[in-house]
Amino acid sequence: MNELVDKIALCIERGKVNLASPYPKDMKGQEGADEFAKQALAAGVGPDAILGACNDGMQRIGAKFGRGEAFVPELLMAAKAMNAVMAHLKPFFQAGTVKPKGKFVLGTVAGDLHDIGKNLVSMVVAGNGWEVLDLGVDVKPAKFVDTVRANPGCVVGLSALLTTTMGNMAATVKELKAQFPNTVVIVGGAPLSAEAAAQMGADGYAHDPQAAAAFLGKFAAAA
């Protein structure tokens, strides 16, 4: 059983989604995260252990990313493999057998249609055991507010690529903080910095998906 868990973690680290996926080339024709997750559940491996394998795989690729030994494409492929596993765990989350670390409401701010950074954050954070509510792109402040109201205790992540939408991001943070002063807001995107994030009133700044996951990890540990 441990062997299956190890295989799941390895497939996630290497970005091997399933048998049909030709990536990575040296694993072409081999079973992937999807098949091993299915086999693990059939063999009686607990969903928590499988979720742990997701965390292990993502942490390994994340550590490589942090050391400059892996890059966004490798991170993305790993996240796709992890998503294949998470699809098998969804019923356990819905039944409450497995509990997420928390809820993370995520979106690209109004006026901005860029989603690559947001999607990466979404996948990496989900792989770290969070339930992600992805609101998409061009999200108006009111939609963030409504979602936070419906999900008390969630953490909010705001993404943007365009300098021209920094005003919208600041306005969204302001609106969220006005209505929910205790809600934690983290921001990220090319035109941002820790100083700019603080000036907007955000609680955190993440320069990459791993930093977002690390921030949430600290938040969960402190909660």
């Binding site: 030709p22 990536y23 080339k25 890059f71 494409p73 300098t163 021209t164 035109p191 910095s193 700019a196």
Partner: protein, 352 residues
């Protein structure tokens, strides 16, 4: 050719931002101006005068070519920005587009840009410059997830084995046809150089691991199409000004240099004085103050713009490579931060 003039400007310590958008928005009717060639041309002329430069850099709006291409495929204007191809257009559709791309009536915005170029071309002392997105960056806008197929293709997986790779190749073919058509239009309108902006040609899309392992994916997706553009420009005795503000590797930089651009504009992640050895001696390096941060007085106070301008100018003078001090990208008007952005552009222009 502008190369000689650019080298002369560099030797004179020339400074200029890419900043027509800032001047455009000093006018109350900015949106209407974008649709009026003569008025837009007047803005470009005003921009050059304001920044005391003969380089008539236009507005950098990298959304126009996608709209132009998708119009051919019948995508409604209101849906263009969020549109992605779900499946690869057929070979017949691609050939038809390549054949007819120049015949299609330009959109109002593109027509205005061409009108602006014609207007600028009539002004003595100004060097009319066209602007368009690069083929790979346009490709990324046509696909919901461009990174995965690039990664797959970079791992040696072919279009026959993966639908995503097939879509990537089809979109790249369409994008090249679109950009070639736009460059030709710009040249016909009087451009003497074209700024080709490839911000997506970076290590977010291309894994340095794959490239170091010998993958030719960067060559196939970025360099080969841009070589076609460089050849077109050379055949018309016009100059390539190449822009990429993304995070790139040294090998990507060397590849850009192989296009022999007259000017190479890079993002603020690069140390231009170290990059100089990787770039042809007659390619002017341009940039690369972090203009995307100009809106923030916390991250980029005025004093830091002064310091970085002086430091960069001094380092580039010391390394001896031709250099024009400027911005890492188009400096955009942001209403909430307009005054501080303008102050920092003024600061960039002011020599010590």
């Amino acid at each position: 050719m502008l190369r000689r003039q650019l080298l002369d400007l560099a030797s004179q310590g020339h400074r200029v931002p890419i900043g027509a958008d800032l001047i455009l928005h000093q006018h109350a009717d900015a949106e209407a101006t974008l649709r009026d060639g003569a008025r837009l041309g007047a803005v470009v002329v005003e921009t050059a005068a304001r920044f005391r430069t003969p380089l008539a850099f236009p507005i950098m709006d990298l959304r126009l070519e996608k709209a132009e291409l998708l119009r051919f495929f019948g995508v409604p204007a209101g849906e263009v920005e969020k549109f992605h191809f779900a499946a690869a257009p057929t070979a017949e559709q691609r050939h038809e587009y390549a054949r007819r791309a120049r015949e299609v009536e330009p959109s109002e915005r593109v027509a205005a840009n061409l009108g602006a170029l014609r207007h600028v071309a009539q002004q003595p002392g100004l060097l009319p410059v066209g602007m368009c997105i690069g083929p790979f960056s346009l490709t990324t806008k046509l696909m919901a997830d461009p990174i995965t197929p690039v990664c797959m293709a970079g791992a040696g997986i072919g279009a026959e084995d993966d639908a995503g790779v097939a879509l990537l190749e089809a979109c790249l073919e369409l994008s090249l046809a679109c950009v070639l058509a736009q460059v030709e239009r710009a040249l016909d309108a009087g451009a003497r150089a074209v700024f080709v902006a490839e911000p997506a040609a970076n290590q977010v899309y291309f894994s340095p691991l794959q490239l170091a392992g010998g993958s030719d994916i960067f060559e196939r997706c970025v360099m080969a199409p841009n070589r076609r553009i460089a050849e077109l420009l050379a055949s018309r005795d016009a100059d390539l000004l190449f822009h990429c503000c993304g995070e790139i590797t040294d090998s990507m930089l060397e590849a850009f240099g192989s296009l022999r651009p007259s000017l190479l504009s890079l993002g603020c992640s690069r140390r231009l004085w170290e990059d100089a050895v990787r770039v042809p001696k007659d390619t002017v390096l341009y940039g690369n103050l972090p203009s995307k941060l100009f809106y923030s007085d916390e991250t980029m106070p005025l004093s830091r713009v002064t310091e970085q301008s002086a430091d960069l100018a001094a380092r580039m003078a010391a390394c001896g490579h031709p250099f024009i001090l400027g911005t890492e990208c188009d400096t955009l008007h942001v209403p909430e931060y307009a005054a501080t952005i303008r102050a920092k552009v003024d600061c960039l222009l002011a020599r010590a």
